[in-house]
Symmetry: C2
Subunit: 569 residues, 2 copies
């Protein structure tokens, strides 16, 4: 995956133990008190009502795909499982709760909380990184009512944003295509420090190639990238500010026996000579190119001769930045270094990228240097999915995008509305009614199957009641819309996938956690099973989600049973 056109990358994987310690640190706010107070007050009311041994099931799901799209990527499961592993109310938590709850709350309740563990909880879930759809639970959590209820807010917090940003990143990847580098630059605009860390992590999982966030690199092993900012360029006034003019020639790549150290050259003079020459070649007045910018590029090249990327829009891309860059790049080349490319952070990105590419091509042609055509052209500046699609239409020459605000804050829709709904207590199904039919819950425990067509594409996600016979390959199955009576279809699956896996039971994870790379791969594999029309940006086709005939009747019977009839007068 790593190619030479990338900037810097983390080269070693960290010592595992140290990494875990740091993850622990990073997740220090993910603790049982990271919840809504009503979870605790409900726990007390349940406890007082003798519901300590009631067993409940909750579904965690969302009702609508984000970003006007027709798919979502599920993530955050790893964090939920780690939270379960560490679930415990500390002495200090209990002391605090005593100050918050009324004084007549019985002391035995606090003792009960202090002893509480998720040992009797089971969690089934989709594979992390899978595409998922409205109403099909991402996770179902079963166990003592009180403890499962206490998990609600934290689970939602951990799944909602993770899934949102992963989905957003995956959409950027689809818009950009597979050959463009995507870099996450959003830390400064993220919703809080940890918002930034989560963004870096899940953008990578969703299909980005790296992040600018150093701590994310350190904590999660994500490749980190970066060069310099406008401030670096403006901090220089002219060539006299350079502390050194010398650069040593690159070590030859061949394994020659060099007895002598490589020679050192007057790099600044070489750059100046190239600027005069290239000014003529590229029809740019060398005298108008900014000397401070030139000094900044030379300074950066002196520090990073093997990774030279320049931000060329501080003063004027076409009249200053491009010329200064090409001059330094050619001088580096003379010394045996291969420059990497440029970044543009303002202006008309399609137009400027084409101008830059044209100049690169002129240099390549004039000096017979093919590689100059392949220099990286990175674009940043408030880029969103639509910008990329529009740039695609205009025919840009950008090879990498740096994306910040729109990616990390999910500006188009900054929250995914996952909910956590009670569906049964002691095996009795529960329903929550609403005037808004979208908000009616799907009662009872359920199984979910993904049915595939003969060409390998996913056709429909089907919910059934637990006792029903699973759908079978080659056997017609009736799938119904959960609420609209007339919407029905027969489906003949060529492959049937049982969607849930038991991930937590008997107080521990049932298997080893996937790595960040595993989940990242899962995203792309899972997206491949979706038809293109579900994934397109404009008016995508809704993916079908259905219920079995049995489940349909079950839901509707329970609905009528629970809805008051009322009386008009």
């Amino acid at each position: 995956m790593e190619t030479q056109d990338e900037m810097f990358s983390s080269r070693s994987s960290k010592d595992c133990q140290e990494r875990n310690a740091e993850l622990c640190l990073e997740n220090s706010v993910v603790q049982p008190l990271l919840t809504d107070l009503y979870q605790i007050t409900m726990a007390y009311a349940y406890w007082k009502s003798g519901k300590v041994n009631d067993i409940a099931s909750f579904d965690l799901y969302f009702r609508k795909n984000p970003f006007k799209g027709e798919f979502t990527i599920f993530s955050g499961l790893t964090d939920c499982l780690k939270f379960l592993e560490n679930f415990h109310y500390s002495e200090s938590d209990i002391s605090y709760l005593k100050t918050v709850l009324p004084s007549n709350v019985e002391p035995e309740f606090f003792e009960f909380l202090h002893q509480l563990t998720p040992r009797e909880v089971t969690v089934s879930a989709l594979a992390e990184g899978s595409v998922c759809f409205p109403r099909i639970p991402l996770m179902t959590i079963t166990g003592p009512l009180i403890i499962v209820q206490l998990l609600e807010t934290t689970f939602l917090t951990l799944v909602n944003y993770s899934s949102l940003i992963t989905t957003n990143a995956a959409r950027f990847r689809i818009a950009a295509g597979k050959d463009i580098k995507l870099l996450e630059f959003g830390l400064r605009r993220a919703q809080g420090p940890d918002g930034g860390l989560s963004a870096s992590r899940y953008a990578y999982i969703g299909g980005f190639d790296g992040t600018s966030n150093v701590l994310a690199g350190k904590l999660f092993g994500i490749p980190v990238r970066g060069t310099h900012a406008h401030a670096f360029v403006t901090s220089f006034t002219g060539l006299d500010e350079l502390a050194t003019r010398e650069l040593v020639m690159a070590e030859p790549v061949e394994n020659g026996d060099c007895d002598s150290a490589p020679p050192t050259k007057d790099f600044v003079t070489m750059c100046e000579d190239w600027r005069n020459q290239l000014g003529e070649d590229l029809s740019i007045l060398a005298s108008e190119a900014h000397d401070g910018e030139f000094a900044a590029f030379i300074s950066y090249a002196l520090a990073f001769p093997k990774q030279f990327i320049a931000l060329i829009d501080t003063y004027d891309v076409t009249r200053s930045g491009i010329l200064n860059f090409c001059a330094v790049a050619m001088a580096l080349n003379d010394l045996g270094y291969k420059p990497q490319g440029i970044r543009i952070d303002s202006g008309d990105l399609a137009y400027l990228s084409c101008v830059v590419k044209e100049q690169f091509d002129r240099v390549a042609a004039k000096y017979d240097m093919e590689w100059f055509k392949d220099l990286v052209i990175t674009a940043s500046n408030d880029i969103n999915e639509e910008t990329i699609l529009s740039l695609n239409e205009q025919g840009h020459k950008i090879t990498a995008f740096g994306i910040g605000t729109h990616l990390v804050t999910c500006q188009r829709q900054p929250a995914l509305g996952c909910v956590f709904k009670l569906v049964s207590v002691n095996n009795k199904p529960k329903i929550k009614l609403s005037q808004d039919v979208q908000k009616i819950t799907m009662p009872g425990q359920k199984e979910a199957f993904r049915l595939y067509s003969s060409d390998g594409h996913a056709l429909i996600d089907l919910l059934q009641r637990p006792g029903e016979e699973p759908p079978q390959v080659g056997k017609r199955v009736l799938c119904r819309h959960p609420f609209e009576e007339s919407k029905r279809a027969y489906v003949m699956p060529h492959k049937v996938e049982s969607m849930y896996k038991l991930v937590w039971a008997e107080g521990k994870m049932t298997e080893e956690l996937p790595t960040i790379s595993d989940i990242r791969q899962q995203v792309q594999m899972s997206l491949k099973t979706l038809r293109q029309d579900h994934k397109r940006s404009l008016n995508p086709t809704p993916y079908k989600v259905g219920v079995s005939d049995d489940l349909y009747h079950f839901i509707h019977d329970l609905w009528l049973e629970n809805a008051p009839i009322g009386e008009l007068s």
Copy 2:
């Protein structure tokens, strides 16, 4: 501030030392590596260029008020100062950076980083919690170029979201008016766990009365609030599930010498009797009211007789929830407890709140109980600023709002675009040009003054060059638009306020940090100085921001000096 219509509140302030330890924990990700990689690569290039002793000034500011508004509240300063206090690259940070930077980076640079401290940095800033405006720096940071550059990303991360959410909360407060309770319920939809914590903290600072987030209560001493969820209601099926039917009478408030314990009553029967009676009074069929909901309310009242609030929309507000609530409320009253009120989380909130209030009034009139009119009516469910304004127009009877997603994710605009721009190096002013005039920086160090009118309202924020005479009360001063030549105005100030305070110098804070309550008060005080038309939601009047004549010419001279002229051909 605390009134009886509130739900639960934190009653004790925490032991200070423990609090600090926890804050430390909470902020564990706020460390020098929480930055963009290019800050580190730039640091190395500066270091290689011999710029170790260069002294630079950076301005932290934004270009546009959020939410289509005309004001912003500055916050996050406390976090920046705490970050400075702890600024240090650990051994582990250095080891990691060695894996990320190219192998030819000189080892002395890592030693330099390891020793780096912000001892020589000075920070001037507006008071945290003040209203602020585009282009007027919120903070100016001066010190060795390398270290100040290294602060950029972290400072932006700490200021951007804090200021955004504080501003958002303040706007909700303005929309709701001062008499409505505002509660932050957003944790589950926040952008990550810490996004949720920051939201709770800054929503409180911006004018909210409390949060549902228990950890925010514990860490920041914010009042926490909460009752129960729909799941609590649906978990009950009927009265036979209640473990106990008995409730002890409230202790009389008078200081009587009661020798005997207060008597215990059959609370469930009392509730049933009241439901039959009130069904007739309120023209609701008692037989149609949901028994599971009734049991849930009774169970909650048994647990929290002094803080009874019921969520009444699980099945049907007007045909079930309201009757079940009133029945339990009256039974509680019979036993000497004062119920608090209801919450509605779906449907037409204006209509339902009026229906509920009407029924409360009927009960109050029929049984001559004035207090029944004053029960809390809390509304939640996807509420944003426009919803509140629209509800105001319709004439609702809501007394408290629970606000989640729109508040914490700032859905209307999820990022504030604060930037951190170099304005001088070694006292030489620096400018960054752009084809977009809005993106041109204001070069050099500057002073800022807020000029007030005779009625105490802020008129204009004026930037000057440091040497200029400050504006004086009663003396006409020429204020100019920074970029549009013809926009000028004379201002006669009745009060002049120097806006910046030195907050960090000589390696430490210059004064004690304000408490969260101090900052919260500052928000309201500062907002009071703004004219109403700047604060209104629809088409607010822009607040004026100007530069002195001197600064105007200074900017424009430098602009021309740095912009290449080019040649048309």
